[in-house]
Symmetry: C2
Subunit: 236 residues, 2 copies
């Protein structure tokens, strides 16, 4: 769309206005398990069947599914009797929980934490600080204290970061040739997905993840297998 057309009808402004609606449609379909159900079923399903399986309103689910079709996150096949929905390829790879490249966890973090903080973006700009206090009643003087305000929140954040590294970690690590370095430190390495990409890309490297003690504890318990000899931890 050229700028002349934009001045006549502000396509870009309308798109920007609708951005949050698009985010929330995708986040919500993930949260409710639409893509997981369609992956597991192995066949296209009607909106009634999806609503029944996921325990939602039939009308609400139909509208959500049709919005996902509009966004090309689902495809629909029209039969004489009804519409049948199935995942697009991109949804199977990135929006299902079990996929190695799943973005589910970062979306849940965006949807349930970041989205609400950004409700107060005007206050953030006025005050020059993050908005955990308004959004969650948690003091924001210590950013990691706010982000890690409970073990559950910390776990969500770590899983979310791991989602991101699973799709772009390799590109980051391959931007420079790190093969001469055999001892690598990952400061704030969290759940270890970047470290895992690193030892995969540079098989002669060992990576030490440096992070807060409670982060290291969770990473050891839930994210990095003890058999992973090339990855170790340092609490600090």
């Amino acid at each position: 769309m050229g700028s002349t057309e934009d001045l006549d009808y502000p396509q870009i402004i309308v798109q920007y206005s609708n951005g949050f609606l698009i985010s929330k449609v995708m986040f919500t379909a993930c949260e409710l398990g639409v893509f997981d159900l369609l992956l597991e079923s192995g066949e296209p399903l009607s909106s009634d069947a999806i609503a029944a399986c996921l325990g939602t309103s039939t009308m609400g689910m139909k509208r959500l599914l049709d919005a996902c079709v509009g966004l090309k996150l689902l495809a629909v096949e029209m039969t004489q009797e009804r519409a049948l929905y199935r995942n697009t390829e991109i949804s199977s790879i990135y929006l299902t929980k079990s996929s190695p490249k799943s973005q589910y966890h970062i979306m849940m973090y965006y949807s349930n934490t970041v989205y609400l903080c950004w409700q107060y973006l005007a206050d953030a700009v006025r005050e020059g600080r993050n908005q955990y206090e308004r959004a969650f009643g948690v003091s924001s003087r210590d950013p990691f204290g706010a982000m890690y305000r409970s073990d559950e929140e910390m776990l969500k954040f770590m899983a979310g970061q791991n989602s991101v590294w699973s799709i772009c970690g390799r590109d980051v690590l391959a931007a420079f040739d790190l093969s001469p370095f055999t001892q690598i430190y990952d400061l704030g390495g969290g759940g270890g997905a970047l470290a895992q990409e690193c030892v995969s890309l540079y098989p002669n490297s060992t990576v030490t993840i440096y992070d807060l003690p409670k982060v290291v504890q969770v990473a050891r318990e839930q994210f990095v297998s003890p058999e992973e000899r090339q990855i170790s931890f340092h609490e600090g």
Copy 2:
């Protein structure tokens, strides 16, 4: 971007994830008055000057302005000493409060009402109803009772609807030739912007706006001048 590239790196998923951030950057720059200030000043301003005029944090404002530059809502000129920001043409037309095509009011409605309701989209799909109760503590059985929960909220909604009609009302009305009709009813005509587009496009028509009594009262007082002889009201 082709689908093969998308399968390798999910550009579309990342864009959809970021949608709400883009919406909130634009909404917030509108709410804080960035575009209005730059229109009034008549010359490019530094981020420090903008922050001082608008009473915000300097760092917070600089980040907001740079985000707007990335979205092409502002342009920046680099001098040896500092960066100077100015409106792009599209921002002057659509994002300033005083412009005839201003989208300010619908953005404030989206940002402060719809955005928060959509925080609960998963609940909305589960329950098959809107989320005014969770977002604002207002029963949602009567949709207009929830939307018009205060005179201030009703006014915001009416001003927002008028913003939208100011850019697409004429196209809607021109989709069919309505010139044979001289008596036109606008059911739920609210603030009257569509009626005004109608009498402008069809000078021989008269339009009767039909709406709730309290909506009609506000429309008469604040939106439709008594001199506008071609527009009348019907309360119902």
